[in-house]
Subunit: 332 residues, 2 copies
Amino acid sequence: MNREILLKSRPVGKPTTANFEIVNSEPISLNNGELLLKARYISVDPYMRGRMSDAKSYVEPYQVGKPIEGGIVAEVVESRSPQFSPGDSVFGMLQWKLVQAVSAEKVTKLNKETAPLSYYLGILGMPGLTAYFGLLDIGKPKEGETVVVSGAAGAVGMVVGQIAKLKGCRVVGIAGSDAKVNYLLNELQFDAVINYKTITNLDAAIASACPSGIDVYFDNVGGIISDAVVAQINKGARIIICGQISLYNETTQPMGPRIQPTILKRSALMQGFIVSNYTERFPEGFKKLATWITEGKMKYTQTTLNGFDRLPEAFIGLFEGNNTGKLIVEMQ
Amino acid sequence: MNREILLKSRPVGKPTTANFEIVNSEPISLNNGELLLKARYISVDPYMRGRMSDAKSYVEPYQVGKPIEGGIVAEVVESRSPQFSPGDSVFGMLQWKLVQAVSAEKVTKLNKETAPLSYYLGILGMPGLTAYFGLLDIGKPKEGETVVVSGAAGAVGMVVGQIAKLKGCRVVGIAGSDAKVNYLLNELQFDAVINYKTITNLDAAIASACPSGIDVYFDNVGGIISDAVVAQINKGARIIICGQISLYNETTQPMGPRIQPTILKRSALMQGFIVSNYTERFPEGFKKLATWITEGKMKYTQTTLNGFDRLPEAFIGLFEGNNTGKLIVEMQ
């Protein structure tokens, strides 16, 4: 018996387990050119919240009553394609199913020698490439500049901070627990980290952590944290809009201070992006990240939940900030 | 007897004539290397509102009790510099005085053959260069794209629209009177122009004027007009933050819809700038604009008030949208 997870209803506000349905489904038959895949690691990512709504965005919405889709590392169980053999590990944007049949073109073969397979959902996957291209292509950090990253202990943020350190920047993280702060300071050597949940004066904390102002802001969260950061940017600052997780569950138009006057006065740049804008340059980014990992210049951590049925819980947890590093679900 | 205009007090909200003081002052003596200048045309520009406040911005604040400074076209009355002769016309960032002595290094000699002297305060001066570099360097309009410009009948906006037309774009203006709308449509050949003061549904008007969405938005005004435009940008749009005149007189932090989610979803770029960022490229911009004018590819209009004492009134009028094209004060 197979098992899959459907979008039962579109969340209004914060998602709950009631928005998901876990169902048993029929065995699968395989056509020529297809692979039978058994999921091994399944990714949960904040951007998926957008696909659960029925709004125009950069990826099309999930359909109610159909399986959720996302990044999955799977094992080839049976192959009707000459390019793959049973036992191969692959990555693809696949359905939340324990077992599924897909066209061989939809997946990429993974090299187990480069790194543990789960890394392909994180530092060697979409989050790592997101950090790489967003920071370097939009942020263009220069040696000695100050880089602030919000969601600093998340899958993207901790890669951003480490790349910025490799580029010789002062790196300041904003995160939401003392454990995260300690990890970023002690393991990843961030120069300063602010716990936004316990700090009494965020403006003063940012000013103290950024004595030379802020040259690059990598924004994963949006909202009032970003208001406080943007208020302290330097002339010529670059603001990378990568995520706005603090706003994804809003049910009304979020309001805030208008930022255009600051963008104007500081001759600043703000740019949004999605990693797929850089598809043609993925090999470059992947190679760089893999090299930094194998040379020991970059560390990686992830939070793992065990069991397919925990996917909804894992996804919801993204909005509670429970995870340090990439959050994945491992099949049992 | 000389005459000058001082900043009497910093405006709170919209400036009034009470913020200015017109005084008679002493005759002037000239030192070596200096020029005695008689003002001919004096510029009033929205950015000057920022200098009247005591806030950190891209140029330092005016001092209370001291003369206002701004762009002036003047005639050399007496010269103690070998580079200038009496009768020469010059441009400089000078004080609001009928007659003043300045170091010869502070001014640029103007060519009366290229264009009427007052153009050096407009299309061949700071506003023209602002339009040129903002649109082309940040906006990068491509043939067939849709360019929206707010404050379209202002000194910068009407140059932006004409350059965009020369680049083969669909050009949509937003302006505040039927006379301006008619001028932009009939004289400058804009493809569509919206009168934001009389339109009942701005969103629908923008959608109708921009059937293929918006690729470039040149923002001179900010506030709710810009909210409506930004909501309809295309993927990969560029937003040039040149001015925010609708907000300059606010006395509290202006609030509005958060734009980062739109910037993110559309992979859009927003960049603020001040024309002095491009100082090294002024000769390029000046040459292009002068060529377009002399070849008849670009039209120019201005609104002129006569008499030094009308400078405060002229400046205040900028915030009432009275002027079509560049607003200048001509000495009598």
